[in-house]
């Protein structure tokens, strides 16, 4: 089992309700896209699955355990099995790309290895291989504050790929990339999911990406699940209802008009370009 949420609700500290009555489950290896307008609660949902926030009501079960009944040590072990791609990767400005990527395994490495890795990177080839999948291997030893927003997002994805988690939570992972790169990045996440049986749930601001790459689409609106369907059953009316837009176009990566429906594509793992 990937995760299971039952009648889940979350009220933020300021009294604002972000999620209400969300029931959602994923089998191991399933790939789910979450779409919905800004403020619908996508980020909150993923943070909840990542055990960063506690639900106000309902049951959460992630990777066969209830995170809020675990001891500190067990919770930390659970977190090593969950990888989160943040929308704006929170990386220290002066950190190097290689260090940022290797930090994905801080939870599993012994502490002395983590410390030594600051003096000399513990796994250059491993970090390089993950960056190469995202066409960024040449920036391996650059500082993070010298990268563009899209490049930073790819560093964040490479960190999660390097972490090798069993559940990947991706929060608008490609929002700062051009369509070609966005496709590449999503492909790599999906290859990881199919190749290693990883459960993948990604929130996407672009409907076309969701429909092209994911076999299951969850529409989220005002903190509630509006629909949970395979892409072939998604209609223009459903989407317009979700985004509450009659006239305006639906959001897509690169702004091209949306075409429905899209067949899923076969994906090959990119061959790493470094030893």
């Amino acid at each position: 089992m990937g995760f299971r949420l039952q009648r889940l609700g979350l009220v933020h500290a300021n009294g604002l309700r972000a999620l209400a009555g969300v029931t959602l489950a994923a089998r191991r290896g399933e790939r789910i896209a979450v779409i919905g307008p800004s403020g619908a609660g996508k980020t909150t949902l993923l943070r909840l699955l990542g055990t960063a926030v506690r639900p106000s009501e309902g049951r959460v079960e992630v990777l066969e355990s209830n995170p809020w009944q675990l001891s500190g040590g067990a919770l930390r072990r659970l977190r090593t099995r969950i990888g989160t791609v943040h929308q704006a990767p929170p990386l220290p400005a002066r950190q190097r790309v290689i260090t940022a990527v290797l930090a994905g395994r801080l939870g599993t490495w012994p502490w002395w290895k983590s410390l030594l890795s600051l003096a000399y990177p513990a796994d250059i080839a491993g970090a390089c291989a993950q960056l190469a999948r995202l066409d960024l291997a040449d920036r391996l030893f650059d500082r993070c504050d010298r990268l563009s927003g899209g490049q930073l997002q790819r560093v964040g994805i490479a960190r999660v790929l390097y972490q090798q988690p069993e559940l990947i939570l991706a929060d608008e992972p490609v929002s700062a990339m051009d369509p070609a790169l966005a496709d590449l990045a999503i492909q790599q996440l999906i290859a990881e999911a199919t190749g290693r049986g990883v459960t993948l749930i990604a929130s996407l601001h672009a409907v076309d990406l969701a429909l092209r790459w994911f076999p299951r689409i969850v529409g989220l609106r005002a903190g509630e699940v509006a629909f949970d369907l395979p892409p072939v059953r998604i209609t223009d009316a459903l989407l317009r209802d979700l985004y509450a837009s009659e006239s305006a176009t639906l959001p897509t990566q690169g702004g091209e008009p949306l075409r429905l429906p899209q067949p899923g594509a076969e994906v090959a793992v990119r061959r790493p370009a470094c030893q």
Binding site: I98, A119, Y120, P121, I124, C128, D135, L140, A273, C274
Partner: protein, 281 residues
């Protein structure tokens, strides 16, 4: 993408290793020279001395006779700080006055007095460096040798070092303010007649800077209280001298009381100084 161009070694490693090595090479002799030996803390002789002294800390000494002595020492410390800063003011004001460029006519254009002015300012700058470059504690030690134990040494030491500090900062404050009014006063050649230096200072520069000048002086007064306690350790009177005596006698109870009073005094000076400076703003 060109696989050959990808580095398989950290290009930064050599630089880091060099830095690390250099750091160790510098640190090692530093540790040797400073006789860094944590084990010294746990030698039986030292442990016993310290333990005995610390045990004496409790209870602090509160006998009436000692408290009377303490109050006198505290007043003395405050008086040393106040008198010292007052004398420092008298030292600093003329020096800052001589240092301030915008008051100098000779600097405005080439004239006969220019060289003389530059030489004078250079000499004053050097004097200020010497005055504040030697810590007040050193002056205090020297004056104790000259005048004997007592507060006079502390007052004179503060007057000299703080005179240097105040002089430098006063000149900086006067220069960093708006110097145009003063320059205008100094430059006007016909009626009304060109103003003198003193008039230019008082009417041109001081009004704009007075708040900053007073604020800095109050801040220095606060520092002087701390300094006058510390100077007591070399015999310049006040709380410090009392503390030094208590420590030499290994009298922990008295030392504890003095330490507490000192901390309270510093807190009080902090509060007074902050309040005064808020009143100014």
């Amino acid at each position: 993408m060109n696989p050959q161009s990808l580095p398989d070694r950290d290009p930064d490693a050599l630089r880091r290793a060099t830095l690390l090595l250099a750091g160790m090479l510098v640190l090692w002799p530093l540790l040797v020279v400073s006789q860094f030996r944590p084990a010294a803390l746990f030698e039986p002789g030292n442990l016993a001395a310290m333990g005995h002294f610390l045990k004496g800390f409790l209870p602090p000494e509160v006998s009436v006779g000692f408290l009377g002595l303490l109050v006198k020492a505290m007043l003395e410390t405050l008086a040393i700080a106040t008198a010292g800063v007052t004398l420092a003011l008298l030292v600093a004001a003329p020096l800052a006055f001589a240092m301030t460029h915008s008051l100098s006519v000779s600097r405005i254009g080439p004239g006969p007095g220019r060289l003389r002015g530059e030489v004078l300012r250079g000499a004053v700058r050097l004097l200020l460096v010497v005055l504040r470059g030697i810590p007040e504690l050193v002056w205090a030690l020297v004056f104790v040798r000259a005048l004997g134990l007592g507060p006079a040494a502390g007052v004179l030491a503060l007057a000299i070092t703080y005179g240097g500090m105040l002089g430098k900062v006063y000149a900086e404050i006067l220069e960093s303010g708006d110097t145009r009014p003063a320059r205008a006063l100094r430059q006007k050649r016909r009626s009304p007649p060109r103003s003198g230096r003193v008039a230019a200072l008082l009417y041109g520069l001081v009004p704009g800077a007075v708040q900053e000048l007073v604020s800095y002086t109050i801040y220095r007064w606060e520092c002087a209280i701390r300094a006058s306690v510390v100077m007591g350790f070399v015999g310049a009177g006040g709380l410090g001298q009392l503390m030094d005596q208590a420590m030499k006698m290994l009298n922990g109870g008295e030392a504890a009381t003095i330490l507490i009073v000192f901390l309270l005094l510093v807190l009080l000076a902090d509060a007074i100084s902050a309040w005064l400076r808020r009143q100014l703003a």
